[in-house]
Symmetry: C2
C-alpha cells in the first residue's frame, strides 16, 4: 500500500463530479475582526451549510453513488449516533435505497428524529461498541446490505476530500489548511487534497486534549486508540482507523490539542463574529489559533467548519434552569 | 413631493456603487426543507453577514460617503441604542470622521462596548425619547456635526435599498420581497428597489403585533405612532417617519403582523435549519409565512434577513438560571 492508500487525485476529482448535483457548494466566510486578531487571513469553509448540516453528506453521497445495481437493491447499513447516520440516510434516499442505522438506545431524541426524517430504518441497541457492532453484523447478514463505515472507507474519504478541494479551488495561495480530527475521514481526505492540489500547503489537525488518540498515534507513529474519551466535541470521540491513520501519518504536518474550555469559548466566538451556527467539533481548529498554539502570522489559512448540528436548547456557555 | 420622495433609481444605483468597496455582498441561502414546508421557493438575503452584523451598514456608509469635506471635518451624530449606532460609528471610521452617539444609560453593555470598539464617541442620557433628542441637539450645536437619522433620511433609505437591489440582481423572477418594518428605512428602500428593478414584484412587510404602528398607519392611511411598544423584536419598536411613511404607503403591497411567540419560534427555526445566527427582528417576516398569514404557494419569495446581533447569552427560547 502506498501512503495514500488506494486514493488518487482522480478518485477525489471523480467524487467531486459525482456528488456535485446533490450537495451544496458551501460558502467561504471571512471576518476582518478575526484577521486583525490573528494577524493572518482566515478562510472558513462552511460545511455547516452542507446538506444534513455537515461535511458527512459528501462521503455518504460518494459512497452510495459508487454502488452497483445489485448492491442498491439491498441497501446500506452503519452504526452511528451522529452526523454520519443522518448523512447516510439522506444519501440513500437520493438513490432510492434503504439505510439501516444502528443507534444506541440512549441517542438523543433530536438525532433519532433527524434520522427518521431522512428515511433511515433504525435498530436500537445497548450503548456499547460491542452491541453496536454485533447488531450491525446481524443486520448485514439478514439484509445483505453494504456496510458504509463512517470514516474507514475509501469512498467516504474521497468524498470528504472534496471539501478541501473546493476550498483550494476558490481561495488561491493558501499556506495552511486546518481540520478537526476524530476518526480521521475528513482529515485524511483533506490531507490528500492538499497533497494533490496544493502541494506547497501544510495540513494542521486539531483534536480535543481529552480525546487525543490521533495526537498520540501521530507523534508515536503507533496506533493508540482512545478509551472512553470525555469531550464536549462529540463528533471527535472516535479513534483513527486502519485506512485513515497511515494517510494522516504521511501527509499531515502537525496535530495540536485544545482544552474543553477553549472549545466552548471558540464556539461562542464563531457564532458571535461569523453569525453562523457551528457545532462543538467545528470550533476545535479555531480554538488552537485562539490559544496561540500555531504561529500563523502573515499566513493564509483555510479552516474547515465541519458541521452545524448544535443542540440549540442546550448551549455549553449557557446554564439552563 | 412625488411618492418616492426624492429617491430615484439612480440614487439607489449610485449608492450601490459608492458603498460596494466597503460593504459585504451578502450571500443568499435556501433550504429544501423550508421550501417543501411552504410549497414555495424562499431566498434568504443574509444581511446578518453584513459589516457590523446588519443591513444598517449600507445606509450609514452611503450617508458618510455622500458628505462634503467641511461636513467630514465636523463629524456625524445620532441617537440610537441599536445597530444604527454601531453602523454609523463603523462608517465614520471609514472616512476618518468622528461619530457622536447618544445612547440611553440603560443600554446593554454589549452594545455600548460594540459602539466603542468601532470608535464611536458615546454620550449617555436618560432613557427617554425627549432626553435623547435634547442631548443630541446639544451635541449638534456644540460640534457642528451632521445628524444622520437612523431611517428618516434619504441617503440612509437609498443605502438600505441596495440590499433588495442585490437580491433582485442575483435571484431572477422573484414574485414577492419581504422585509421587517420598524422605522421603515429598510422597508421604504426595499419598496423603491422593487418598484424600479422588479416592477412585477410585490413587497410584503411584517411587523410584531405588539408594535403595529406601521400596520395601523398603512391600513388607515394616517400616521399613527407606537406608544411604548413592548416586543422582543427590539429593532422594530420605532415608528415610521415623515419620509418613510409616504414611500411605504405608495409602494408596499401589504403589511402583516405576527405574535411574539411566533417570532421566537421562527428565530429558533431559522437558526436550526439555515445554521445562521439571526436577531429577533430578522425572524419576523418568516414568522408570517410560518403562521400561514400569506399564501405563497408556488411563488418565489425573497426575504431580507436584517441582522445577526443576537445576545448569545440570553436566547429567548432558553430559560437562564
Amino acid at each position: 500500500m502506498n501512503d495514500a492508500g488506494k486514493i488518487t487525485s482522480l478518485h477525489i476529482l471523480d467524487a467531486a463530479s459525482r456528488i456535485a448535483p446533490h450537495i451544496n457548494k458551501t460558502p467561504v466566510l471571512t471576518s476582518q475582526t478575526i484577521n486583525r486578531l490573528l494577524n493572518a487571513e482566515i478562510f472558513f469553509k462552511c460545511e455547516n451549510f452542507q446538506k444534513v448540516g455537515a461535511f458527512k453528506a459528501r462521503g455518504a453521497t460518494n459512497a452510495v453513488l459508487s454502488m452497483n445495481k445489485e448492491q442498491l437493491l439491498r441497501g446500506v447499513a452503519t452504526h452511528s449516533s451522529g452526523n454520519h447516520a443522518q448523512a447516510l440516510s439522506w444519501a440513500a434516499s437520493l438513490v432510492n435505497t434503504r439505510a439501516y442505522i444502528v443507534m444506541p438506545e440512549n441517542s438523543s431524541k433530536v438525532k433519532v428524529a433527524a434520522v427518521k426524517d431522512y428515511g433511515g430504518i433504525i435498530t436500537f441497541c445497548e450503548p456499547t461498541l460491542i452491541a453496536r457492532e454485533t447488531t450491525l453484523d446481524r443486520i448485514l447478514q439478514e439484509t445483505g446490505a453494504t456496510e458504509i463505515h463512517p470514516y474507514n472507507n475509501e469512498q467516504i474519504i474521497a468524498g470528504q476530500a472534496t471539501a478541501a478541494l473546493e476550498l483550494i479551488r476558490e481561495i488561491p495561495g493558501l499556506d495552511i489548511v486546518m481540520a478537526p480530527v476524530g476518526g480521521g475521514g475528513l482529515l485524511s481526505g483533506t490531507s490528500l487534497s492538499v497533497k494533490y492540489f496544493l502541494p506547497n500547503g501544510k495540513v494542521i489537525a486539531v483534536e480535543p486534549e481529552q480525546a487525543n488518540d490521533a495526537y498520540l498515534s501521530f507523534t508515536s507513529g503507533n496506533f493508540i486508540p482512545s478509551l472512553n474519551p470525555d469531550t464536549i466535541a462529540d463528533g471527535l470521540r472516535t479513534s483513527l482507523g486502519s485506512i485513515t491513520f497511515p494517510i494522516i501519518l504521511a501527509h499531515v504536518y502537525q496535530i495540536l490539542t485544545v482544552s474543553e474550555e477553549s472549545i466552548v469559548r471558540s464556539m461562542r466566538y464563531l457564532w458571535e463574529r461569523l453569525k453562523i451556527v457551528v457545532e462543538t467539533s467545528s470550533a476545535v481548529p479555531f480554538a488552537a489559533l485562539a490559544e496561540g498554539k500555531a504561529d500563523v502570522t502573515g499566513k493564509r489559512i483555510g479552516i474547515i467548519i465541519s458541521g452545524g448540528n448544535a443542540d440549540l436548547d442546550d448551549l455549553p456557555w449557557i446554564k439552563n434552569e
